[in-house]
Structure formats: structure tokens, C-alpha cells
Symmetry: C2
Subunit: 261 residues, 2 copies
């Protein structure tokens, strides 16, 4: 059964230094996939790459070619280790595209999705490694049986088997929340900056002035204004957008160009 | 400003047939990336691939080599179209790694994340296309200015630029919820099947019996039982796991092997 790492984690109070999981690749056949994984690691804040039975990684070859800026650190710092080393030193999460669909089999069930894994690891202090298997067959049953838990990506039942590099990319993307501090994310998961209400009200006033100016049928004005409010409301317009639109509407209402003629 | 497609969608009531967005790739340089995108499309339930100024896709080359099973349908069914065709016929979502960080610039702001985009498109009926740009520079400002909205993947501020194939993979993964019906997902985003409470109670009773049998200090038993409940509670054990553990604990308590000696 799953070994819960929280059971053995010391009570350290609120202190919780970020310690992103290591990433291990077992018996990769294609140097390009190792490079792709290294690049995703750097994109999402991971640095420790462990390779079990890796292919040769020629500095002029595909691994470095696919690694982007990770060719400067993640890839050259990768360490070759044994599968035993992973099992003995880390809380291990195996990844697989092929799961058992019920709870009668332990090897590939229960599994977490990458999103669930991110939620859970957020609250765990333990050295963790996420383990990816070889192209084609992934991790074997024998390998998965030695790992602490199993993670699988939700995908089409018709074709759930992802390419190794793509599976690792998605998994590391989902785990970014435990690897990157919010301040280190280029695009924080924040709401867009909606314009303040007084600005929006000026916008609606200007719309109303325009409707009056163009002699929009009086009995339709309230309904049209409701439509406009809903339309803009759903779009969460920014200050800049409201300002621009307000300028346009004001010109359309007041037609300063005509006065000059 | 963003053109909200819901504004023009007809009132069709609750009927909402799945109509996954099309995927467009503009001026890709590398056939392998087109193949990678085709594979991710098939993994996550997309089928309509549109190519603007594509490289040659040799059936014996990298595009087909990287496409997995998508070499049978998504890739051979891809259509070559113009950028104008996208703008004129679809609600267009441009993707970019480089955004403007404030609301003073329209071209790359506001942006949504892929997860936000999935939430929003879930409630929209309109022909939508998600547009990916060329390797290296992505979509140009001129191209983005003609698209309806912008989407960007949260990534490390130190190195936010994803490879084209990896960016498309993550975006399509996040959009799977609007492309795949829940029944078509190999791994539904469901909770694991937790064993029923009576089974868990039998497990705790057996733990208690074991503590008594091994003369665990009486003053510590309540605390130990609380720890065991918490430990198992967090792990959401399955019926099979509880059954197995119960068997082990019963043997440890009753030691039938000893009785036989």
C-alpha cells in the first residue's frame, strides 16, 4: 500500500522551505526526450535530474539540442544513479499511462493525477522523486511495485499513451506550484485587472448618451443598456480598454469633427 | 478589446454538443513539432488541425514519426489554410510565452491561462481555434493583434519560454475538459475508491487488538490509535488495501503459526 511520507515528517511548524521533487528517467532510449524533460524542468522550477541507464548524451546531440536553456545547468548537472538508489533514498512517485481501473490490483492502483499529486506534495516534507519510464513500455510492473505511489495523466480512452517527453512536460507543469514560489512565476495565476466601477459607470453613461444622440428607439434603450452591461461585465475590461472605448464612444456621440466643419 | 463570443451565441437552452476547438499552427519550422502537436491532439480529444505556411510533412519524416497514432487521422486530415481564414472564420485564441505584464498594452494583455481558458470555453458555443506560433519567436505582435484573445502558460520567470510542442501539449491537456466527454477519459478525475467505514472500523479494531496483544503501554494506546486513524485516514485506503492489512494484523495478533507449533 501507499507509504504516506507525512507520517514520518518531523513537526517543523510553519517553516516549509521549497524543496522541489527530483526527476528521474529510467532507461530512456532517445536523447531528445531527456533534453525535452530537462527543458520542462527548467521551465517549471525543477533542477535535480537523475538518470537510470541513460543513453549517451552527446553535447552536440539531440539531448542538448532539445534542452533550451537547460543545456546550461539541468542537463550537465544530471547524475547517473541506479534504480535501487531511487527506492532507497526518496519517496518515489512512478508515472504510467496504463493503470488498473479498479482496486483489485495494487501495482497500478490507486493512482493520483498530476494535479492531485501537486495538491498533496504541497503539504509534505520529504525528499521525493518523480520517476518516468522508458519510451514504448514505460515503467514495468516490477519497477512500479517497488515505488511508493503511482501517478497517471487523464487522457483520451481511445489513445491515452503519451510520448515520454510530453507526459513529463505535463506532469512538471502541474507540479510547478510546489517547485516555484509565486513570485518566481512569470504569469501568476491571478485574475486580470478589471477596471474600477466608476470607470465602468462612466462607460455606461457614455453608451447611454450615444443611444440618445443617435435616437435609438426610447422603448428599447433600457434593454440595450442591459445587454451592454452584460457584454462588458463578462469581458472584465481593463482600465486601458475602458479608457479607449470611452474615447471612441465620446467621439461618436459628440462628433467634434463635424463641429469643426 | 476582447470580443466575447458568448454575446453572439444563439440561445440554445441546455443542449450543448461538444465541439472541440480547432488547433492551428502558424509557420512551424520543424515537422517534428507538428507531429508532437498532432499526437497531443489525439491524446486529449481534438481532431481539426489547421496549418498556416507549414513545412513539408513527409509521410516518412519526423512529423509522422512523432505523431503516434495521430499519424492515422489527425495528421493526414490536416488542412492548409491562410491566417486570414482563421481570423475570418473562428473565435481566435493566440498563445504566447511573452506577455505584457500590465494593462497598458493591448496586444499581449489581458491574457488567460490555459486552465482559465478551459473554464471559460466550457460555457461558450462558437467555433474556436487555438493558434500556436512558430518556434523561436512565436506569434508576432501583428498576428496577435488580429486575434481575439491571448493565452499564456504560467512558467518560471527565469525561463518562461516553452518549446512549441511542449506548450501545445500543456494547452491541449488543460483544454481536454472541453474536448472529451467524461466517459471518454481513460482516467476520470474522480476520487479514488475509499474503503467503506465499517471496513475501516474493523481495521482499527484489529489495530487495537494488536496493541493489547503486544502489551503496548496502556497510557499510550489512545494516542497511538489516534495516530493510526490519522495515518490511514489521509491515505484513503481502498477495500483491497484494508482487507490485506487486516489480514496481516490479524495474523500478527493471533499468531496462528505459533499455535500450530
Amino acid at each position: 500500500m501507499t507509504d504516506d511520507p507525512r507520517a514520518s515528517s518531523p513537526e517543523t511548524g510553519d517553516e516549509h522551505p521549497r524543496n522541489p521533487p527530483a526527476v528521474a528517467v529510467v532507461d530512456a532510449q532517445t536523447p531528445g526526450n531527456v533534453g525535452t524533460i530537462a527543458r520542462a524542468m527548467k521551465n517549471f522550477g525543477f533542477s535535480e535530474l537523475l538518470l537510470v541507464d541513460p543513453p549517451e548524451l552527446d553535447p552536440d546531440g539531440e539531448a542538448y539540442g532539445f534542452a533550451g536553456h537547460a543545456r546550461e545547468d539541468v542537463l550537465p548537472n544530471a547524475r547517473e544513479v541506479s534504480f535501487d538508489h531511487l527506492v532507497e533514498n526518496y519517496h518515489t512517485v512512478g508515472t504510467t499511462a496504463i493503470t488498473n481501473e479498479d482496486d483489485q490490483h495494487h501495482v497500478r492502483f490507486p493512482f493520483t493525477t498530476p494535479a492531485e499529486l501537486a495538491d498533496r506534495l504541497e503539504r509534505v516534507e520529504a525528499d521525493t522523486v518523480v520517476v518516468f519510464g522508458r519510451e514504448g513500455v514505460g515503467l514495468t510492473n516490477e519497477e512500479l511495485a517497488r515505488l511508493d505511489e503511482v501517478c497517471s495523466i487523464p487522457a483520451s480512452a481511445e489513445y491515452p499513451v503519451l510520448n515520454l517527453g510530453q507526459a513529463a512536460t505535463i506532469t512538471l507543469y502541474e507540479l510547478r506550484t510546489i517547485a516555484l514560489d509565486p513570485g518566481d512565476v512569470q504569469l501568476p495565476d491571478v485574475e486580470r485587472v478589471r477596471a474600477d466601477e466608476p470607470s465602468l459607470e462612466r462607460l455606461y453613461d457614455q453608451w447611454a448618451a450615444l443611444l440618445e444622440e443617435i435616437n435609438h428607439p426610447e422603448e428599447k434603450r433600457a434593454k440595450t443598456m442591459r445587454m451592454l452591461r452584460r457584454l462588458h461585465g463578462r469581458a472584465d475590461p481593463t482600465v486601458q480598454e475602458v479608457t479607449t472605448l470611452l474615447g471612441v464612444l465620446r467621439r461618436a456621440t459628440e462628433r467634434p469633427d463635424r463641429e469643426e466643419n
